[in-house]
């Protein structure tokens, strides 16, 4: 009788955890809202296509100075962690979402900074529906998600971001 009760309790808890993870939202533990935007070549890229990896969604723009300063730092992290095995994903990817309005500026900075990770934008500046979906009020802003798209951390920069990534590496 007691064993049955324990099993029921465990089953209930697992259900609650699963249910929480399935909720799409912006809180840690929520499933990150889907983003489908075009890359520089005009091809649609979906955030969900990165399922299985640890992903940093980097909201930035070429008109944002702190964002530009951050790109070389992201490049270092990308190089260091891209092929690593994490407790919450296989490999590290960056999904760069630009709130630019000018295609030329966007492409110029991607080329200048030699950015090799995924870059997407609808070139709608603050009118971009993605800015609304993710409730972004200022740039830079980022969201770290796990292999299932679950939000792990939000708006980490510099050493804090590196520490977070290092903490997820399989020892």
């Amino acid at each position: 009788m007691k064993t049955g009760l324990y099993f029921s309790l465990i089953f209930f808890c697992l259900n609650v955890i699963t249910l929480k993870a399935q909720v799409t939202g912006l809180e840690i533990g929520n499933k990150s809202p889907e983003i489908v935007l075009k890359n520089q070549k005009g091809d649609s890229v979906a955030l969900s296509s990165l399922k299985g990896k640890l992903v940093l969604i980097d909201f930035w723009a070429t008109w944002c100075s702190p964002c530009l300063e951050e790109q070389p730092k992201l490049a270092k992290l990308y190089k260091k962690y891209n092929q690593k095995e994490f407790t919450c994903g296989t490999g590290f990817e960056i999904f760069g979402v630009s709130l630019d309005s000018r295609q030329s500026s966007w492409e110029e900075v991607i080329a200048r900074e030699k950015i090799t990770w995924i870059q997407v934008s609808d070139l709608k500046f603050w009118k971009s529906p993605v800015a609304k979906t993710y409730s972004i009020k200022a740039l830079p802003y980022n969201v770290l998600i796990d292999r299932d798209g679950i939000i792990l951390m939000k708006n980490l920069h510099g050493d804090e971001l590196e520490k977070a990534l290092a903490g997820f590496v399989v020892k």
Partner: protein, 149 residues
């Protein structure tokens, strides 16, 4: 009980001083004075009133979001600074000019200083910087002030 009033006065003074020091729109060491900062609410009020003259508004940042504003582009680029120079050259020195960027807080903005210094150097008398303390999103778009689109 005797020292209550002076203590309250000191707290009040400290609060006021802190507010001035911490103010993101502080003008100390900047090419503009405090009186040359225009509040977004005041500009919005002007733009919503068709019976009064409107200033000439230049966007010197990412996009000409504000209604009636002229798109110059980021004035951290010399070519765009030259564009601003050519554009304002035709205006009388007494013209009411407003410039704005709104990419980020003033401390991080690479565009407002070169543009404002240019207007100072050219001898304009009534040029102002729009006091977007956070960015164009928070201080203008989210307040439903008039936009170009």
């Amino acid at each position: 009980m005797k020292f209550k009033a002076p203590v309250i006065l000191m707290i009040l003074m400290a609060t006021i001083m802190t507010a001035f020091v911490a103010s993101p729109s502080s003008s100390a060491g900047e090419p503009w004075s405090a009186s040359q900062l225009l509040s977004p609410a005041d500009l919005a009020k002007t733009l919503n009133n068709q019976k009064i003259p409107h200033p000439v508004i230049y966007s010197i940042g990412p996009q000409a979001v504000i209604k009636e504003s002229i798109d110059i582009g980021s004035t951290r680029d010399k070519a765009n600074l030259e564009k601003l120079k050519n554009n304002v050259a035709k205006l009388p020195k007494e013209a009411n000019i407003v410039i704005y960027c709104g990419c980020c807080p003033f401390g991080n903005c690479p565009n407002i200083r070169p543009a404002f210094e240019l207007l100072n150097k050219m001898g304009f008398k009534n040029h102002k910087l729009l006091n977007l303390t956070q960015n164009i999103k928070v201080d203008w778009i989210d307040k439903d002030y008039p936009v170009n689109y």
